[in-house]
Amino acid sequence: MSDAPILAVADYTLDYRTRLGAVRALDAIELTVGRGEVVGLVGESGSGKTSLAWAIMRALPANAIELRGTIRLGAVDLRAQSGTDMTHIRGRRIGMVFQDPAASLNPTLTLGAQFVEALTTHHGLSQAEAWSEGERMFARVGLADPPALMRRYPHEASGGEKQRVIIATAFACRPELILFDEPTTALDVITARQILDLFLELQRETGVASLYISHDLAVVSQIASRVAVIQRGRIVEQGGVSAVFARPAHAYTRQLLAAVPRADRRLVAEMSGHGKQLAAVRDLTVRYGRPSLIADLLGRTKPMVTGNRAISIEIRWGEILGIVGESGSGKSTLARALTGLARFEGSLLFDGKRIGGATDMTGGYRRDVQIVFQHPDSSLNPRQRIRDILGRPFRLYGVPDGRPIAEAIADLLRLVRLPAEFADRFPHQLSGGEKQRVAIARAFASRPRLVICDEVTSSLDVSVQAAVIELLVDLQRKSGAAYIFISHDINLVRQIAHRIAVMYRGELVETIAPEQLSTHGPTHPYTAALMAAVPTIRAATTHAGGTS
């Protein structure tokens, strides 16, 4: 048809009014999405990518100030539309798929009712027509038993099913443009892969123009035809996917690309010889749930949920043991059992001593085994200064060499490459990466022999993640501590682990060395599925997305 783009954003500049004055969120944005095109918008958190989505949807918060620029949908100037006009455009002409499917569905309405509502308001279909269309679309997006699912409420469906319903609704309204804001970030690796495949298929079939917002360069490289890289509200580079990823022109793009974990780039030295055993776990089983007193008295017993089933694994001195699996596979449960946060059955041998449960975990064991959690926001007490947070382990276990505590804290901050002045700050005055460094410093204060890293980088941006991983590898080399490195990202684990344990539904399905994984491939089908699901950057080959 015509060459006129579906979406054209020109010279768009947006500020947010804050207590500290205006903050520039978007700066002179130039972006077009043509008919049938998938444009990827890549940037780290705080780069303004979601602000752009809200600006296009005309749902900006009250403190937004639009300075200049235009946003056009076909021939319509979206900035000139009134609130009521926009309700006719949203949903019918622009669809949107958000990050968290649980938050974008109304928990009090059935999935079918929400689908039907969208079609009856936007396309004037009757209830019965919309319902049968729903059954057809639900089947189209690969949902099993659509009639039954349509009668279910959101909490009765899994995250992947919910996201499929939202995608079905967005496509069923046959909009000209769909905005995707990190639609797979909240999902499991394998589910995310399926959603991506579904998106590609539907996109090819309908030829709808899409703006795909993501922090994940690998995902964008696989689905988009053009990509725009956004940094602090400014688009620094824009072009065809293969061109941008093969020959990035801007330094920031190169930095982002270099930070993406690649399985073929090992970051650790291989273990010399076999190494002595540090800890061994035999038939470790964790069950969750506690029968209530009244249920007990009435003689009703509720089955307990099994978090780990008969796990047996050993960790050697100075080894990095990677544990991968999707959420709910029991990775974190194992970490909680080893740190005395969850009750377990089975045996745990640490440095020759038998640990039967939390009561056997004496000061010595606690000092030797440290844990770093996923979210630094949650693992650092917001009411304590960094000084108090880092000083706590010293007060518990004593300061090495009997030095003053302030000096030891400054050393600790230097160890994780933070300035010593940070001791006076509160956690909310630090960035996500800096907070995670503080959490790592706290774990290393006691000179541990085993550090459990539970998804320590998954809440961080990709470039920050690379720096934190580098720091962890460096600390491991200096301190000689063993790591249990838990992650959902098999590429990342393949970069730094000496051995990889794969978990699935609470069980350990395979333990394999990364070299063997590269040369011979996985032995267990689940590991193979996991490896296939993780997207890798495709630069040289032509993409599959549909420009025609």
Binding site: R290, S292, L293, R336, T339, G340, L341, M361, T362, G363, R366, R367, V369, Q370, I371, F373, Q374, H375, S378, S379, L380, N381, P382, R383, Q384, R392, P393, L396, R442
Partner: protein, 274 residues
């Protein structure tokens, strides 16, 4: 802190509440100096005077100046009520946080006991305590504190349960910290904000409860110029002078409204997101 204050003054209920509570605060601190007369000076010739002239708010059945009595009474009424609320809050906060931290059977037992205690209305509860311990101001304070403890424990526990799930508590357990440090050092500082709000609102109830106890003759004893006691004494002479029952009632109502508004304002100011 100044940021919270600025947000507090910006909301209408916060500004009004802060204004009223500041006035009450001035009366509590400077009341005895501001009072134009001796609160207990009897003047037979000037009984049942309406407001005006030498006696700004009039006089009671013994010719004592009502304004002076109110200003002196602010101290006994408001300070006692505040102390009672504070005691109840501290006890409740500790019980609630510890119960949330320990969890399991202990939590069940503590909370069911608190449910049982809460089933008794707070006025009845304080009446019970005072009649067991004997009538006096100190016992009234204790009675109110005990009556407030279960409610505060319940509110604190609900906040503390969310804090209990935070990783910094898990990190402290994994580090091998003791229960006392985890409750006092890690958890309590993070449940303070909602507790302060609840405490402010409860001061209003406490003023009314304390006045009620005094009215029933179980709190302050004559000739203390306590507001509830003033209402109780004035009841017999209502038909001779309406003013002497009206003013202390207004004072009690004003304090109650002031603290309620302040609590509402604080709730908004401390949670900027809601």
């Amino acid at each position: 802190m100044s940021e919270v204050l600025a947000r507090l003054v910006r909301s209408p209920q916060g500004a009004i509440g802060l204004g009223i509570v500041s006035l009450v605060g001035i009366a509590v601190v400077a009341g005895p100096w501001l009072a134009p007369h001796d609160p207990n000076a009897i003047s037979i010739l000037a009984r049942y005077k309406p407001p005006g002239g030498q006696y700004l708010l009039g006089t009671d059945q013994l010719g004592r100046d009502l304004l002076s009595r109110l200003l002196h009474g602010a101290q006994s009424t408001v300070i006692m009520a505040a102390i009672a609320t504070l005691c109840g809050t501290v006890m409740g906060a500790l019980i609630g946080t510890t119960s949330a931290y320990v969890g399991g059977r202990t939590d069940d037992a503590v909370m069911r006991t608190i449910d049982a205690v809460m089933a008794i209305p707070s006025l009845l509860m304080s009446l019970l305590v005072v009649s067991m311990l004997g009538r006096s101001q100190a016992n009234a304070v204790l009675a109110i504190a005990i009556a407030f403890t279960p409610g505060m424990a319940r509110i604190t526990r609900s906040v503390a349960l969310a804090v209990r799930k935070q990783d910094y508590v898990s990190a402290a357990i994994a580090r091998g910290e003791g229960t006392a440090y985890i409750v006092m050092g890690e958890m309590v500082p993070n449940v303070v904000a909602p507790i302060i709000v609840e405490m402010t609102i409860r001061v209003a109830f406490s003023v009314m409860l304390f006045a009620t106890l005094s009215f029933l003759g179980l709190g302050a004893q004559p000739p203390t110029p306590e507001w509830g006691l003033m209402v109780s004494e004035a009841r017999k002479f209502m038909h001779l002078s309406t003013w002497m029952i009206l003013w202390p009632c207004c004072a009690i109502a004003l304090v109650a409204i002031g603290f309620n508004l302040l609590g509402d304002g604080l709730r908004d100011a401390l949670n900027p997101r809601t």
